[in-house]
């Protein structure tokens, strides 16, 4: 897994996102390795779009500018796979045609060679989140919380350079949400990943404990 020393701070410099000439957000911030920047805003405020811009999959109807740097390196010019932003969505989105373990093996970088070594790595990762022996299971047979944990390990084993969280807790029930949240933040901290969390849940922001940015109109209702 990632060694903390190798990771770098993430800097957003005047990142603005607009649609049809209407500006949605403008953000500047620096996220240190292991820290979490929480971006809060109502739905439609463009917070997911911010993650898409950083990750490299902005829909063409949006226009965006501003620098996103990891250490000294400018990310925006790079294709998404070279930005290597691990992303967790609301849904775990395990690849349904692969086994649980297959999902994780897929994520392990190619530099780690050997079928057995890769499998062992994946098995250990499953073990670590209480899913030992789940390697050959069909993802479809997992519970919501189990899926979320597999998705987390999948992202972490790919050795991402930063972590983008798009409300990954919102579909979990209260108890599970708390647990998963703590697990993800702890893991991100250990891996030393600069992390951006977008959410509309205040409790998420509090649990993250880092900087907090509000965007968009004040939350209605």
């Amino acid at each position: 897994m990632q060694t903390p020393g190798k990771t770098k701070p993430l800097t957003l410099c005047d990142v603005t996102i607009a649609i049809d000439g209407r500006m949605l957000l403008c953000v500047s911030a620096t996220v240190m390795p292991g820290d979490v920047l929480t971006v809060m805003g109502p739905s439609g405020s463009g917070k997911s779009t911010l993650l898409a811009y950083i990750g490299g999959f902005l829909e063409p109807e949006f226009s965006a500018k501003g620098a996103v740097r990891l250490g000294e390196e400018e990310l925006i010019g790079l294709p998404p796979q070279r930005r290597h932003a691990g992303i967790l969505f609301q849904d775990p989105l395990l690849f349904p045609h692969l086994s649980v373990g297959g999902n994780i093996v897929f994520a392990i970088p190619e530099t780690i060679r050997g079928r057995d070594a890769r499998r062992r790595l994946a098995e250990d990762a499953l073990d670590e989140v209480g899913l030992g022996g789940f390697f050959d299971r069909d993802p479809e047979t997992l519970s919501g919380g189990q899926e979320a944990r597999v998705a987390l390990q999948r992202v972490l084993l790919s050795q991402p350079r930063l972590l983008l969280l798009d409300e990954p807790f919102s579909k979990l029930d209260m108890a599970l949400r708390q647990q998963t949240r703590e697990l993800i933040f702890a893991k991100a901290r250990i891996a030393g990943l600069p992390t951006i969390l977008v959410t509309h849940d205040r409790a998420d922001a509090e649990a993250a404990g880092g900087q907090l940015i509000h965007i968009g109109a004040e939350t209605q209702s």
Binding site: G55, G56, G77, P79, R83, H84, F95, H97, S99, F106
Partner: protein, 562 residues
């Protein structure tokens, strides 16, 4: 700004490619329209004149021919769509539905000609249905003197077309269905007290219809301009317009050639009129739907309606099944006098006679179908990955061959092909087929392609995988079933193509289909049985493979088994 720039380049490339792919149609149309107005230097037509349309108008009963084509197309499409829609609404997601689906899937693309023969063998005065009740109920000792099939109103043709289009429409609905939240909406609507059909109509139908609209229009245009089915089941005096055009084209007389071109232009207009009528029907349908939604009527007691639709679906499938069995039986029948229900003896003599002539067309059919469907699948994947997330409208150029009656541009294309010196070969016929196969493949693959959650690919690229790798390891495997289905659809379309094969093949490349239709006038039921059966079995095998492979590969992946 690497990605946005790439995106900006990719889309025009995709659109450009799509436009390129519809050039054959436009060129073919030009090759048809110009002669219709008298311009065809090769045949001495150098001046534009409306004379050929006047000559066309002077043909006996030409309006009746056109009207029957139009009415048969609209009626058969409407019946097929309504029945299948109610069947899907009533049963999709249930166990019996899955059963019927698997039962039907091999039937989905029985070529039109084969199913027309199957129905003809059933309903003809000397056919199986009459034999079944003769002479006990009818007293017939000789076949009655009925004008069936080939009745002047085209009713047998309507029945044949509707029965044939039902499996196709079912296929496209099934392809679109996994993208809709069927199970959830079923639960929700039944919790609100709605009947299955009404609940489905309210919650699912608009989204479903949007996805299948193009295939429905294609069915409409096809049914309005069909040649082979109309030759087998349609009226004879006068035949439908497309059949008459085809006859004029086969005529060596130069005047007939111009007449055919003018007829093809009228056929083109007829297709547009049919689409116009259909849009009217859609409007009315939308009004009814809106009233249904706001009325709050639950119509929970819809069992009769559901059962009826399911019965019609099942019966029409059973008709084709039985008809195919009859074809098989006729192909091995010895003496089979009326009104005996079964042949008095069996013999493989017909197969023996047919075999020698069967091998070459069979090999040609398979080669052409494989070439054209594989090429179409590759092009479809390329087109979709170049910008498959945009609106389907951008692909409209590719779909042109479905919305333009084939008779209106195939001949023009042949003129051009001969002009530039192409001689008929497997490759040229396959290239011609590609024009027809590609839209169906794209239609089949497009909805599942667009409906696949893009976040899967975003996750994969976030995991550090290149877009090619993501395509190969995530998207295509997740869409394996859709790809194989698209391939089988393409294969079936190619196998069943009659007119383009006849025209481009020019007698030098013959397929099972052209041979079978050519035999239809001869009336040797045993040989027709052999050819129609072989023709029907080909797509059968394609769909069998397409449905079995994913079951086999993904037997441990519940989410992959729909």
């Amino acid at each position: 700004m690497d990605i946005p720039v790439r995106e900006r380049i990719r889309r025009p490339i995709g659109t450009g490619l799509a436009v390129l792919l519809c050039l054959p149609v436009l060129a073919g149309l030009a090759g048809t329209v110009l002669p219709a107005f008298g311009y065809l230097p090769a045949l001495g037509g150098a001046q534009f004149t409306p004379g050929h349309f006047e000559a066309l108008a002077a043909q006996p009963h030409i309006q009746r021919s056109a009207f029957v084509s139009l009415a048969a197309g609209l009626t058969s499409t409407f019946i097929a769509l309504v029945v299948v829609a109610i069947f899907v609404a009533g049963y999709a997601g249930t166990r019996p539905f899955a059963f019927i689906q698997h039962l039907l899937s091999p039937l989905l693309a029985v070529p039109h000609a084969a199913s027309a023969f199957a129905i003809a063998f059933l309903i003809a005065p000397s056919g199986f249905l009459v034999r079944l009740v003769s002479p006990e109920l009818t007293g017939f000792l000789r076949p009655p003197d009925w004008l069936i099939p080939n009745d002047p109103l085209g009713l047998s043709m309507v029945a044949g077309l509707a029965a044939k289009e039902m499996p196709f429409l079912l296929l496209v609905m099934l392809a679109a269905l996994p993208q809709l939240p069927l199970a959830n909406s079923r639960r929700l609507m039944s919790a609100l007290g709605y009947g299955r059909v009404t609940g489905f109509a309210i919650a699912m139908w608009p989204a479903l219809y949007r996805q299948i609209r193009l295939p429905v229009l294609a069915v409409l245009v096809y049914s309005t301009s069909v040649v082979d089915v109309a030759m087998i089941l349609g009226p004879q005096l006068p035949p439908t317009l497309p059949v008459r055009i085809a006859a004029w084209l086969a005529d060596d007389d130069v005047g007939a050639r111009f007449l055919a071109s003018a007829g093809a232009v009228v056929q083109l207009a007829l297709g547009l009129v049919a689409i116009g009528f259909w849009i009217g029907i859609e409007r009315i349908g939308r009004l009814c739907h809106r009233r249904l939604c706001s009325s709050g009527r639950r119509l929970a007691a819809d069992r009769l309606l559901r059962r009826t639709a399911a019965s019609i679906t099942a019966v029409s499938a059973a008709l084709i099944f039985t008809g195919l069995a009859l074809l098989a039986l006729w192909s091995i029948a010895g003496l089979w006098p009326f009104p005996d229900r079964l042949p008095t003896s069996l013999t493989i003599a017909a197969w023996g006679r047919a075999l020698a002539g069967l091998v070459d067309p069979l090999a040609a059919t398979i080669a052409i179908a494989l070439l054209s469907s594989l090429a179409a699948l590759a092009i479809a994947i390329l087109l979709l990955s170049l910008g498959g997330h945009g609106k389907a409208d951008r692909w409209l150029p590719v779909f042109l061959p479905l919305l333009v009656p084939e008779i209106a541009f195939v001949f023009g294309l042949q003129v051009l092909a001969t002009g530039v010196g192409f001689s008929p070969s497997i490759a040229t016929v396959a290239a011609m087929h590609l024009v027809f196969v590609l839209p169906y493949v794209l239609l089949s693959l497009g909805p599942p392609w667009r409906a696949l959650d893009r976040r899967y690919e975003q996750i994969a690229s976030g995991l550090g995988k290149s877009s090619l790798r993501t395509l190969m390891t995530i998207r295509l495997p997740m869409l394996l079933r859709a790809c194989l289905t698209a391939l089988a659809v393409g294969f079936a379309v190619s196998v069943s193509l009659y007119l383009p094969t006849v025209v481009i093949g020019a007698g030098r490349v013959t397929t099972i289909t052209t041979e079978a239709v050519a035999l239809s006038s001869g009336g040797d039921r045993r040989i027709i049985g052999v050819y129609a059966l072989v023709q029907a079995l080909l797509p059968f095998s394609g769909f069998l493979v397409a449905s079995l492979v994913p079951q086999l590969l993904f037997r441990q992946r519940r989410a992959m088994r729909i």
